[in-house]
Amino acid sequence: MQFSVLVDIRLRGGISDPAGATIERVLPVLGYEGIADVTVGKTIRFTIDAVDAEAAQAAAAELTESFLTNPVIEDADLTIETVSPGAGT
C-alpha cells in the first residue's frame, strides 16, 4: 500500500527562531493586533510504500528522527494517510 506522509517540523521551545520573531515584530506595523507566538517551521511531504498504516508510521518516524529533524532543536508531528490500497485489497 502507498501512504502519504506529512512531517510538520517546528523548533523546540527556547530555540532561536529569527523568522518567527521578525514576522511577529512587523505585524503591528501592518495593523494586525492580538497575534502572538508566531513560529516558523517546515513541512516535508512524501509517499511511502508499506504493508499497512502501522508500518508506514514506524518507517516515517524512524526517518524523521534519524534524518529529517535534529532532536536537539526540533520536534515533529507526523500525519499519515492512505493514498492507494495495494493490489488484491
Binding site: L11, I15, S16, A21, F67, L68, N70, V72, I73
Partner: protein, 221 residues
C-alpha cells in the same frame, strides 16, 4: 616529513583553500579530500572546513554527515585521530554525533561576519594543546547558525569534564555559556564556530589562529 592534514570538501564547502593555506603556512601539508571518497589517504589529521555543505538544505550538516568521507572520518576519530570542525564543519560534526549539542540560529537574528575575541579555556584538546589557558585570541566568525545549544545535562557534563575549550569574550550569537568550541570525551575531536584558518596571516589582520592550527599539527605528529 611534515604532518598531512586532510581537508574534507563537500559540494558547497568554501573554506577549504583557507584551511590548506593555513596548514601549509605553518609547516604542515594540506590535502583536499573529496566527500565521496571513503578513504582518508593516510592523513595525520582532518579538518572539516566551513561553507555550506550540500547548500545547508534541511539543516546545516544534515546531509553532509552521510557522506562516505564522514564515515571514514568517524572511524579515524574513533581510532584517536585528531579532527577539527570549523564553522559548517562544527555543524557537520554535531549532526554526525561526533560532538554533542547543536548550532541554532544566532540570537540577534543576523548573519555575523566580524572579528571576535575568544578565550582558551582548556589546553587539553587537539586544537588547543599548544595554547595557553586564559589566552585571548582575535579570530573572525562568519555564520548565521552559530548559536551553540545543548540540554542542561550535556552542558553540566561539558563543564565537569573541561570540554569547553573556547569561550567568547563578548558573546556575539547567544551561545549557551558563551561556548565557541567544544571537544569530545577523548579530546581528539574539536568543533568551533570561529575561523582560525582566517587568522594565520598578518595580511588578514590577526595571526592569533595560528596557535590553534599549530596545536592540531602537534596533536597529529
Amino acid at each position: 616529513m611534515s604532518v598531512v592534514v586532510g581537508v574534507v570538501v563537500f559540494p558547497g564547502t568554501n573554506c577549504e583553500m583557507d584551511a590548506v593555506e593555513a596548514v601549509d603556512g605553518l609547516g604542515g601539508t594540506g590535502r583536499l579530500l573529496w566527500h565521496g571518497d571513503d578513504d582518508l589517504s593516510g592523513v595525520d589529521a582532518v579538518i572539516v572546513p566551513g561553507g555550506f555543505a550540500h547548500g545547508d538544505y534541511l539543516r546545516p550538516g544534515a546531509i553532509a554527515r552521510f557522506s562516505p568521507a564522514m564515515e571514514a572520518v568517524t572511524r579515524f576519530a574513533a581510532d584517536g585521530g585528531p579532527v577539527v570542525g570549523i564553522c559548517n564543519g562544527f555543524q557537520v560534526l554535531t549532526e554526525a554525533g561526533l560532538l554533542p549539542g547543536a548550532l541554532q540560529k544566532n540570537s540577534g537574528l543576523k548573519f555575523l561576519c566580524r572579528p571576535t575575541t575568544v578565550r582558551v579555556e582548556s589546553s587539553n584538546s587537539a586544537l588547543t594543546v599548544s595554547a595557553m589557558v586564559g589566552a585571548e585570541l582575535s579570530i573572525p566568525i562568519n555564520h548565521f547558525e552559530g548559536n551553540y545549544t545543548c540540554d542542561a545535562r550535556t552542558l553540566q557534563q561539558l563543564r565537569d569534564e573541561d570540554r569547553i575549550v573556547l569561550r567568547y569574550v563578548g558573546n556575539p550569537n547567544g551561545s549557551i555559556d558563551d561556548i565557541a568550541g567544544v571537544c569530545n570525551e577523548a579530546r581528539n575531536v574539536v568543533g568551533l564556530m570561529p575561523h582560525p584558518e582566517r587568522a594565520c596571516n598578518e595580511l588578514l589582520g590577526s595571526t592569533d589562529g595560528a596557535v590553534l592550527i599549530r596545536s592540531l599539527l602537534a596533536a597529529a605528529a
